[in-house]
C-alpha cells in the first residue's frame, strides 16, 4: 500500500504519470462538459479513432507520434465538423466511416514501419507510466490553450450549445464557433490519449462530466466538478493499478465507471424521493 507513495515520492515516471492525470483532468472536465451537453459523444469517438492514422503516419515517417496526433485530430475534427454541418441526415454513417478508415490507415502505417510494433498497444490503450518530460510539457501547453480559449469563448460556446438558433439571431457565427469547439475537443482527445489511449478516451471525456451534471445548476460548476472528479479517477486509478500491476488506463476507466454508477444511483434515488415528497404535499 505505502509502496505506491514511496514510488510517487522517489520515481520520476510515477510523478509524470500523476501530473499527467491531473493535467488531463482539467482538459477532460472542461471540454467533456461541452461534449456531454452538446451531445457530440459520437463525433468525439470519430475524432479519437482517426487519430491513429496521424500517429501511425508520424511513426512511419520517424516523427514524434504526438505531433501526428495533434495534426490529425484537428484535421478529423474539421472534416467531421463540416460533414455534420452539411449532411444532417446521414451524419452518423459518415462519422462511422471516418472513424473506421482512420483506424485502418493507422494500422497499415504501423505495419509498414520497420522494427517491432510494441507501441501499437500504448496508442490504443494508453500508457500513462511512459509519459516523458517533453510529453508533459506539450500536455501542459495544450491545457493552457484550452483554458484560455474557453475563457475567451465561454459565452458564444454556451449560446451555441444551449440554443443554436438563438445564437444565430444574436449575430454569432454558429458554424465557426462549433468548429472551434470541435478543435478544442480534438486537442483534449490528444491529451487524454496519453492517459487511457484511443479506445478508452470516450470514458474520460464523458463520465466525469456526466457525473458532475447530476449535481450542478450551471455549466461552469459542471466543468469544475468534472475536473475534480477526473482528478480523483486518474489518481485513484493510478494508485489501485500499481500494486496488482493492472493496466493503468483500464483501471482509471473502471474507477470512473464505478463512480458513475454510484452517482447515477444516488441521483435517481434523490429524484425518486423528491417525487414521493411532491406527491404527499
Amino acid at each position: 500500500m505505502l509502496e505506491f507513495f514511496e514510488v510517487l515520492w522517489n520515481q520520476t515516471f510515477m510523478q509524470h504519470a500523476f501530473l499527467t492525470g491531473i493535467l488531463a483532468s482539467l482538459a477532460c472536465g472542461i471540454i467533456g462538459s461541452y461534449v456531454v451537453v452538446k451531445r457530440i459523444v459520437f463525433i468525439s469517438g470519430g475524432i479519437s479513432h482517426s487519430v491513429l492514422a496521424g500517429m501511425g503516419l508520424a511513426y512511419y515517417l520517424g516523427y514524434p507520434p504526438l505531433l501526428g496526433a495533434v495534426l490529425f485530430a484537428i484535421l478529423a475534427a474539421l472534416l467531421i465538423g463540416v460533414i455534420s454541418l452539411r449532411a444532417r441526415q446521414r451524419e452518423d454513417t459518415i462519422i462511422g466511416a471516418v472513424w473506421a478508415i482512420g483506424m485502418a490507415a493507422g494500422l497499415i502505417f504501423i505495419s509498414r514501419t520497420p522494427g517491432y510494433n510494441a507501441d501499437l498497444m500504448s496508442y490504443l490503450f494508453g500508457n500513462i507510466l511512459m509519459v516523458s518530460r517533453s510529453d508533459l510539457l506539450i500536455i501542459a501547453v495544450l491545457d493552457g490553450l484550452i483554458v484560455l480559449l474557453v475563457f475567451l469563448f465561454y459565452k458564444p460556446f454556451l449560446a451555441v450549445c444551449f440554443d443554436e438558433e438563438y445564437a444565430r439571431l444574436q449575430g454569432i457565427c454558429v458554424d465557426a464557433v462549433y468548429l472551434l469547439l470541435l478543435c478544442l475537443t480534438a486537442l483534449t482527445i490528444v491529451v487524454l490519449i496519453q492517459v487511457v489511449g484511443i479506445i478508452l478516451v470516450l470514458a474520460l471525456l464523458t463520465l466525469p462530466a456526466a457525473m458532475a451534471s447530476h449535481h450542478v445548476r450551471g455549466l461552469l460548476p459542471m466543468m469544475l466538478t468534472a475536473t475534480g472528479v477526473g482528478m480523483i479517477c486518474t489518481s485513484a486509478g493510478l494508485f489501485l493499478s500499481y500494486e496488482p500491476n493492472l493496466p493503468t488506463g483500464a483501471t482509471i476507466v473502471m474507477t470512473a465507471g464505478s463512480l458513475y454508477l454510484l452517482s447515477t444511483a444516488y441521483h435517481s434515488l434523490a429524484q425518486y424521493r423528491q417525487r414521493l415528497r411532491g406527491k404527499r404535499w
Binding site: 451537453v37 475567451l152 465561454y154 459565452k155 440554443d163 438563438y166 439571431l169 454569432i172 451534471s213 445548476r217
Partner: protein, 252 residues
C-alpha cells in the same frame, strides 16, 4: 407611430425540399400592433416567423423589418421559439438563459458583464421570474420556462417580439398569465405570435392573419364560422385530393 410598417413582407415564396410552403404571402404590421398568426399545422406559420426573424431567407419576395433586412437588425428582434427544441437536461441557470439574450449588448468574449446582468435581471423582473434566477432552467414548469424565454427575448430590448406557440404545453392558468404579460409588453413593443388555437388568440390580439400556404388577413378579431371553414377545411380538402394542386387553387 411611424408611417412605415414595422414588418413589411411582400410576395414571399418559400420552398423546402421541393414543397411550396409559402405561396405569394404578404403581411404588413404597424408599430404597436399585436398580431396573431393562425392556421393549420404545416400551414407555414413557423416558416413565416423565421423569415421575419431573419433565420430563413425566402426564395422570392422581399422582407423588411424596421425598413431593413431582418438579418441586419436581429438585435432589435426578440424571438421566442417553441420550447420543444430546448434540452431540459442542460445545466444552465435561469439568469444565464436570460443573459444569453443580450449577448449583442456587451462584449462577446470573456465573462459576463455588469450590464448584461442588469438587463437580464430587469427582464426577469418584468416577467415576474426574478426570484427564480438561480434555479436550473430544466427544473421549472412549462409556464415558468416560457416566461423565462420571454425574458430572454426582452433582455435585448427589442422593438418587435416574435413568438412561436407561446402557450403550447402550458396549463390554462399559466396561459392566462402569459397573455396578461403579453398585453403589458405590447404597450411598448410590437408583437406577432403564432398559434393553432384560434379561440384563445382571437380574444387577445388586435388582428388575426390566417396562413395556410396563402395568407388571408382579417382586420378585426371577429372570427366567423366561414373563416374557420376557409382555413381548416381547405387544408383537409388539400389532403384529400393528393399533393398536386390545381393552378387556380384559392382558399377563399
Amino acid at each position: 407611430m411611424s408611417t412605415h410598417p414595422l414588418i413589411d413582407v411582400q410576395n414571399v415564396y418559400f420552398q423546402y425540399d421541393g414543397e411550396l410552403i409559402l405561396d405569394d404571402v404578404s403581411l404588413r404590421v404597424r408599430e404597436g400592433e399585436f398580431v396573431g398568426l393562425i392556421g393549420p399545422n404545416g400551414g407555414g406559420k413557423t416558416t413565416l416567423l423565421k423569415i421575419v426573424a431573419g433565420l430563413l431567407v425566402p426564395q422570392k419576395g422581399s422582407v423588411l423589418v424596421l425598413g431593413q433586412p431582418p438579418r441586419e437588425i436581429s438585435s432589435q428582434i426578440g424571438y421566442v421559439p417553441q420550447q420543444i427544441n430546448l434540452d431540459k437536461e442542460f445545466p444552465i441557470t435561469v439568469l444565464e438563459v436570460v443573459m444569453l439574450g443580450c449577448l449583442g449588448r456587451a462584449s462577446l468574449f470573456g465573462g459576463y458583464r455588469k450590464r448584461e446582468r442588469e438587463l437580464a435581471e430587469k427582464a426577469l423582473a418584468e416577467v415576474d421570474m426574478l426570484a427564480f434566477r438561480h434555479r436550473r432552467f430544466g427544473t421549472l414548469s412549462g409556464g415558468q420556462r416560457q416566461r423565462v424565454l420571454i425574458a430572454r427575448a426582452l433582455a435585448g430590448e427589442p422593438r418587435l417580439l416574435i413568438m412561436d406557440e407561446p402557450t403550447a404545453n402550458v396549463d390554462s392558468l399559466s396561459q392566462q398569465q402569459i397573455y396578461d404579460l403579453l398585453h403589458k409588453i405590447n404597450e411598448k413593443c410590437t408583437i406577432i405570435l403564432v398559434s393553432h388555437d384560434l379561440g384563445v388568440v382571437s380574444r387577445h390580439v388586435t388582428r388575426v392573419a390566417c396562413l395556410n400556404r396563402r395568407m388571408v388577413i382579417h382586420p378585426t378579431t371577429a372570427i366567423t364560422d366561414s373563416m374557420i371553414q376557409d382555413i381548416y377545411q381547405s387544408h383537409v380538402h388539400l389532403v384529400n385530393h393528393g399533393d398536386i394542386l390545381p393552378s387556380g387553387y384559392e382558399p377563399v
